[in-house]
């Protein structure tokens, strides 16, 4: 079995599962946000008039997309979530001032752990595979069912293996790695499948790099991304106080317990040292090319943040470029830390000062501009370099706007230059 299959077999109470099999699994965590929870509550209340949440799994609501609330409708939606959580004591409710972007906040709060089975009514729930969890996005109906039953059905995925060797060169990050992979296999290259990463190169990737890689597994169509549980993951979890089944993890999820090659439908070898900074041109994450090969493209805005790249090492990388420099004339640069904790850390490390002195906005945590919600919506025909995850038509504003996806370092360089591609900084 693949790593993912071992976790799902445990959740289904079976010794073994195979790709294609349908299983009902016990959940460890089910989560939603201010966009996906209101429909889940409406469905829950309609179908379960007694209003009882009988799930044994953790239920988490994070208010992060249209918050701090951008308009009256959003405020009423958040109020609905808040009131529902207030009247159901087994919901962990995280509001403005405590949370941040769900996929940055949940790992740092110790709510995601190796061997766990996690579903979230948000497609980027696949992020927690970096910690050795099985973690995947679902819809509001699945969340409503999970709140009642604590269970979810899954089609057991087959897996593509990514055997990493070497280490990333200076200036490259997990974002460049995942953009490279998506450009290679396409937006449906891992459809219905797991993307499992292993090999000697994994040790050279920071936890933040791994979160970024797993976060964008969905952009290749994958069900989940997964990294084996190693010393770096263990050190990260120790800080968060997450609880997990040590015996299961030791027996199944360590690097030395790697599945045989034959368990994978395909194995792709990647030498991390061969990577270069990448940029995904409009309008698909798979349109990625080396930044150096892109023709000089003038830009209007830069966004640095999101569940993909709003972590402290992302902000450090951006600050290292912006320190002592200034954002180019007629360009806006918006920096958004992924959580309250990351925001505080950025302030304490002096990163916030660097951003503000460079002429950038330093915002409170929110998903805001990534989905064209608020705090950085584009105007007609504008171009934006963004560290977010999707450059679809109309994603950050009007259908005529264009998004270039890149790493925090590349985005910060674009903010200073006023363009991306062509001559480098």
């Amino acid at each position: 079995m693949t790593y993912t299959q071992r976790i799902l077999a445990k959740g289904a109470g079976k010794n073994e599962v195979r790709g294609g099999e349908l299983c009902l699994c016990e959940l460890d965590l089910a989560l939603g946000n201010d966009i996906t929870v209101p429909p889940a509550i409406n469905l829950f209340e309609k179908h379960f008039p007694d209003g009882k949440i009988t799930s044994r799994s953790k239920i988490v609501f994070c208010m992060d997309h249209f918050t701090p609330c951008k308009d009256i409708r959003s405020a009423n939606n958040v109020r609905q979530c808040r009131e529902f959580a207030r009247s159901h004591e087994n919901i962990l409710f995280y509001d403005v001032g405590e949370t941040g972007i769900e996929h940055c906040f949940i790992p740092e709060r110790g709510l995601a752990a190796p061997g766990g089975i996690i579903i979230g009514a948000d497609s980027h729930t696949c992020t927690y595979g970096a910690l050795g969890a099985f973690s995947t996005g679902i819809g509001s109906t699945d969340l409503a069912v999970a709140m009642r039953t604590g269970k979810c059905w899954f089609r057991i995925p087959e897996a593509i293996g990514f055997r990493l060797s070497g280490s990333l060169p200076e200036g490259c990050s997990g974002k460049d790695l995942i953009l490279y992979i998506i450009s290679m296999i396409g937006t449906d290259g891992a459809l219905y499948r797991s993307m499992e990463f292993f090999g000697d190169g994994v040790a050279s990737l920071s936890m933040d790099d791994r979160f970024t890689v797993c976060n964008m597994a969905i952009e290749a169509g994958a069900k989940n991304g997964f990294f084996p549980f190693d010393k770096a993951a263990e050190a990260y979890l120790e800080e968060t106080g997450a609880e997990y089944d040590r015996a299961f993890v030791d027996g199944n999820l360590l690097p030395e317990a790697a599945p045989e090659s034959g368990e994978y439908i395909r194995i792709i070898d990647i030498d991390l040292a061969s990577l270069v900074p990448m940029v995904a041109k409009p309008h698909k994450p798979s349109n990625s090319v080396p930044v150096a090969s892109l023709k000089r493209t003038e830009i209007d805005q830069v966004v640095i943040g999101s569940c993909t790249n709003g972590r402290i090492s992302d902000l450090r990388a951006a600050a290292s470029v912006l320190k002592g420099k200034h954002v180019a004339p007629f360009v806006r640069c918006i920096v958004i830390p992924g959580s309250q904790k990351i925001a505080l850390q950025a302030i304490e490390e002096g990163l916030a000062s660097i951003f503000i002195e460079a002429g950038a906005v330093f915002s409170t945590p929110t998903c805001g501009p990534c989905l064209g919600g608020h705090t950085g919506v584009l105007a007609d025909n504008e171009k934006c370099v963004s560290t977010t995850n999707r450059n679809f038509v109309g994603r950050m504003g009007p259908v005529s706007s264009e998004i270039y996806l890149a790493s925090p370092r590349t985005a910060a360089e674009a903010a200073v230059n006023g363009y991306i591609g062509g001559a480098l900084l």
């Binding site: 966009i35 996906t36 209101p38 429909p39 409406n42 469905l43 309609k46 179908h47 997309h65 249209f66 951008k70 308009d71 409708r73 959003s74 939606n77 979230g120 009514a121 948000d122 497609s123 729930t125 996005g137 679902i138 819809g139 509001s140 109906t141 699945d142 409503a144 069912v145 009642r148 039953t149 937006t187 449906d188 459809l191 219905y192 969905i218 169509g221 069900k223 698909k284 989905l371 064209g372 919600g373 919506v377 999707r390 679809f392 038509v393 109309g394 994603r395 259908v399």
Partner: protein, 158 residues
């Protein structure tokens, strides 16, 4: 039996163009459905008739997990989506809310906008009414048919 006129789209139709996030503060599906397909086909809501069918290429419904996407398509009266393939969260959400979908690459390639489709979900067949040509998709297992016929998974748990 499903029967309707075809609306044809390409590959990688994402949930942001099916229902743009700028409208996701609207929770009433009827109100929200006025914006269905707005960023890929602005006239869709004015032309679609109850029973019509969406036919598309690979990876239909990719991107965000928003269940609002299949929900507004269903609300507009679309009776079926036929695609070369579906993004997995969309596939799951469509079944969970009782919106019929079929993966059938051959049919997805052959149909054009305005053609009339007939489909039989139990047998997994898609028919081009004009030519009489029948395409075979994988039929749903019984438990999925049960979810669709009851209008969604929550109706099976009541």
């Amino acid at each position: 039996m499903i029967r309707g006129k075809v609306f044809k789209y390409g590959s990688d139709v994402d949930t942001d163009v099916i229902i743009p996030a700028r409208y996701l503060n609207i929770t009433d599906m009827k109100q929200l459905s006025a914006h269905c397909m707005e960023d890929i086909d602005a006239g869709f809501v004015n032309r679609v008739q109850p029973g019509d069918v969406i036919v598309a290429g690979d990876n239909f419904g990719c991107g965000s997990s928003r269940e609002h996407a299949p929900a507004v398509i269903k609300e507009c009266g679309v009776s079926l989506i036929v695609a070369r393939s579906f993004a997995r969260i969309f596939y799951r959400n469509a079944i969970n809310i009782g919106l019929p979908i079929l993966e059938c690459p051959e049919a997805a390639d052959r149909f054009s906008a305005g053609d009339v489709i007939e489909a039989d979900l139990e047998n997994g067949t898609v028919t081009d009414v004009k030519t009489g040509k029948v395409f075979k998709a994988a039929a749903f297992p019984e438990f999925i048919m049960n979810i669709i016929s009851k209008g969604g998974v929550l109706n099976c748990l009541d």
